[in-house]
């Protein structure tokens, strides 16, 4: 990407955006397309998926056959650069030594952040998800409704390209006509599961994922996305014409050199840069937000990681989009006489109400899938179908014993053999070796499936982060210390997930193999995974209608500092089972429109 050095940073930006992932990308995109001058600061290195993505490399061409290692927690070819639950030189700490009370914090230090690696699941929150407290008395209502956000969901989906169907299901919203791309046909294992899941009452529909199954129409979409802005339309049309449709090979987690999937680096940043309104600095580790005499944000201080030098940047507006917890950390580290407890923290709620997604998983072997004729199941590099939460009525009637729902992500099939291929078969084969082992490997290949639950967490007082009073990272910046707690709602929900999976596997005539050993759970007996393991960090600076009970208003604008906005997951007032990225982008777009309107009014 065309990046600039700290020496080239100008002095008259409209907006500084900290972070370049889903939130930072969307914010910079919206602002620059409307003419605002933006400086984006990314803590990681420059990264270009078009040049760097291993598209057709096989696992046999990777060290250790591509196995996951502490350096690459999702395997060698995963796109993540300088990231994981541990980042060298950038520690975080825990309040408790009990794994059940700990949060594991995923970070990726690279341009585009985790959008390079993410699963591309793009599910809308539904109407219930924005008003959970009104519905069941728990958690917090968001200060806007689904209907207010829906136009932004449409725009984001058109911009990034999302495949899926409109199924008209409860609290699982349809998109407007012409917005979604056609979903790919379900794979054999997905179709077989669907047939049997129906018998136990679990629906299966096309999942929504940010992958182009056909090329975007540059003659139609730009006008819908940027009505009345001819220049933006032209730039977006050009950017869309650079994106190819999926060619149904290679896993999306590696990134996508042909730009068929959404990554900030292939979808948001190229048109934003093409406006000429975006300056981008990589290796810029922001330490704090600075204030002027009037208590307004006037810029940031960042460490240029290439020299270790401290630099300043100034703008009329500061947007933090650094990932939920990193944004919280920045606020807490921005202390001043006016905000001794951290910036925008008059409510005392910065760092409170942090959330992840409830995770539980089970793997199984399905005899019906043994010995299928070889056929290509790579598909769209991820799931084609899923099960949206289906027990709203039973839950509202109090029949389930926990308050919120989950969706099921599942799959299996004949993916590219990697580390573990043909391994562990001795339980099925009585320990075959030689030619019999080869025969067995062919027979069992493609007969293994996994089922993962992804459930809503209700914010609670035991889940928070704060500054560690002692520990600093290698740049000398105080680090976060986490506390975590799953409530009975989440624990019971995870158990419900597992019993559902067992029922499904039984209906398929399969054999349960066990919980996924790669997913860390809070202890050996528990079903639920550790906090942070699903990498859906949100909350920590929740939005609300009351300045005493929230950190930002409905526009992601901090109550305390009107020209300071938080457009990542930090202002999420809840964390529905739907994967948060799509909602982060829709909310960021809406917030960016607010910034533009306020700048036009001369508020900043």
């Amino acid at each position: 990407m065309p990046i600039i050095t700290p020496a080239q940073v100008k002095s008259d930006y409209d907006v500084i955006v900290v972070g370049s992932g889903a939130a930072g990308g969307q914010t910079a995109y919206t602002l620059t397309m409307e003419g605002a001058k933006v400086l984006m600061l990314e803590a990681g290195r420059d990264y270009d998926p078009v040049k760097e993505t291993p598209m057709f490399q096989t696992n046999g061409q990777a060290p250790l056959r591509g196995a996951a290692t502490p350096d690459k927690p999702f395997g060698f070819h995963d796109s993540t650069v300088d990231g994981g639950w541990q980042v060298p030189g950038e520690p975080y700490t825990q309040v408790s030594e009990d794994p059940a009370r700990q949060f594991e914090w995923w970070r990726s230090r690279m341009l585009g952040g985790r959008t390079n690696h993410w699963a591309r699941h793009s599910l809308r929150n539904g109407p219930y998800d924005f008003k959970p407290r009104s519905r069941d008395g728990l958690g917090f209502d968001w200060p806007f409704t689904y209907e207010e956000l829906a136009p932004y969901y449409d725009k984001v989906e058109m911009l990034i390209g999302v495949y899926g169907d409109n199924d008209g299901m409860e609290n699982t919203p349809d998109s407007s006509p012409g917005v979604l791309q056609p979903p790919p046909i379900a794979r054999a294992s997905e179709q077989y599961a669907k047939k049997h899941m129906k018998t136990v009452g679990v629906p299966v529909v096309a999942i929504h994922r940010a992958v182009l199954t056909q090329r975007q129409d540059p003659t139609v979409l730009p006008q819908k996305i940027h009505p009345g802005n001819v220049r933006a339309q032209r730039i977006l049309a050009e950017a869309m014409s650079q994106r190819a449709a999926c060619f149904f090979a290679t896993p999306c987690g590696r990134g996508c050199a042909i730009r068929a999937t959404y990554q900030s680096t292939t979808v948001h940043l190229p048109p934003a840069l093409a406006t000429g309104n975006l300056d981008l600095v990589a290796n810029a580790m922001v330490r704090e937000v600075t204030l002027n005499a009037q208590g307004r944000a006037d810029g940031v201080i960042y460490i240029d990681k290439t020299t270790g030098r401290e630099c300043r940047a100034r703008a009329r507006v500061v947007v933090l989009a650094a990932s939920g917890m990193e944004t919280v950390r920045l606020l807490l580290n921005s202390k001043s006489a006016q905000f001794p407890q951290g910036l925008a923290n008059t409510s005392g709620l910065v760092g409170k109400n942090i959330m992840d997604t409830v995770g539980a998983s089970l793997s199984a072997q399905i005899p019906a899938l043994e010995g299928l004729p070889p056929h290509n199941e790579d598909g769209a590099g991820g799931a084609h179908v899923y099960s949206p939460w289906w027990l709203y009525k039973e839950q509202l009637a109090g029949k389930l014993g926990f308050a919120r729902g989950y969706h099921i992500e599942f799959g299996g099939g004949r993916s590219m053999p990697g580390m573990g291929a043909g391994a562990g078969l001795q339980n099925f084969t009585r320990g075959s070796y030689g030619l019999k082992l080869k025969e067995d490997a062919r027979r069992y290949y493609g007969s293994f499936m996994y089922f993962s639950g992804r459930g809503e967490m209700i914010p609670n007082e035991g889940s928070y982060c704060e500054l560690d009073p002692v520990v600093k990272d290698k740049w000398g910046i105080p680090v976060l210390r986490f506390s975590w707690q799953w409530s009975e709602h989440e624990l019971k929900q995870a158990e419900h997930m597992e019993s559902t999976f067992k029922e499904i596997v039984a209906a398929m005539g399969g054999k349960v193999l066990g919980r996924n050993a790669n997913r860390k759970r809070i202890n050996d007996k528990a079903v639920i995974e550790k906090g942070g393991r699903v990498i859906h960090e949100v909350g920590g600076a929740i939005m609300g209608a009351d300045a005493k009970k929230s950190v930002t208003n409905q526009w992601c604008q901090t109550w305390d500092v009107p020209n300071l906005y938080l457009t990542d997951g930090a202002p999420f007032a809840g964390n529905a089972d739907k994967n948060p990225t799509l909602t982060i982008m829709a909310v960021a777009w809406r917030a960016s429109d607010h910034i533009l309107a306020e700048m036009k009014k001369g508020s900043f």
């Binding site: 046999g60 591509g66 290692t69 080869k438 062919r442």
Partner: protein
């Protein structure tokens, strides 16, 4: 006592237990010796920002550490676990033992755990075949290889004196299948036909749907 075995009288049971503990002791000694004998493993992995769109070979990131003798035994075991079949080469032909060397020479914790099992087992299996047949595993004839592998191939069925050997065999077999089925020849052999750009994804072919009762 394993339920697959006939009941033993007390004296026999004690004898077997003694044999079993002796076998364990030998294995541990072997592991220790092997670990000392092999060069110290690398302390650094490939890091958090390795070049990804490149083809790598074992040894590119950290030195391989097996001795020639260990290599020879590993290759023979690879060939026994995945032999040649028609035009498809064996795991040894495809140098899967080099991958196993890469695996056990790598600095990461899981692989370091496997290092002790694999190097210990490679030493143990030669001791076992010398005792039984007077020669190293790599020099056994087909029948002798089968006799040894049959004793080790299924841990729940293994005799107590083979329990450690069976654990090693299971680990080595998993590494061999992983190494083999990730080669182009192995991917083809297992029936993986993807990794090709397609203009269209047509879903499962009719014969697959028919077999699953979904047609």
């Amino acid at each position: 006592m394993n339920r697959d075995y006939p009941r033993l009288d007390r004296r026999t049971a004690i004898k077997w237990m003694l044999t079993a503990s002796a076998a364990v002791a030998i294995t541990e000694r072997q592991m220790f010796a092997a670990a000392q004998q092999a060069a110290a493993p690398a302390t650094k992995g490939y890091g958090t920002d390795a070049l990804l769109n490149k083809e790598y070979q074992p040894g590119d990131f950290w030195p391989l550490t097996m001795t020639d003798a260990q290599h020879r035994t590993a290759a023979a075991l690879c060939a026994a676990i995945i032999p040649a079949e028609g035009s498809v080469p064996s795991a040894a032909d495809l140098h899967v033992h080099d991958f196993i060397d890469e695996w056990i020479s790598s600095p990461y914790p899981d692989q370091q755990g496997d290092r002790a099992i694999v190097l210990g087992g490679l030493g143990w299996i030669n001791e076992e075949t010398r005792r039984r047949f007077g020669k190293d595993f790599a020099d056994l004839d087909e029948k002798q290889v089968k006799a040894v592998c049959d004793d080790l191939c299924h841990a729940p069925d293994a005799k107590p004196e083979h329990a450690e050997g069976a654990k090693f065999f299971a680990k080595f077999r998993d590494l061999t299948t992983s190494g083999f089925f990730t080669t182009p020849e192995g991917m083809k052999d297992i029936g993986y036909v993807g990794n090709l750009p397609l203009a269209e994804f047509k879903g499962p072919p009719p014969e697959v749907l028919a077999k699953l009762g979904l047609a």
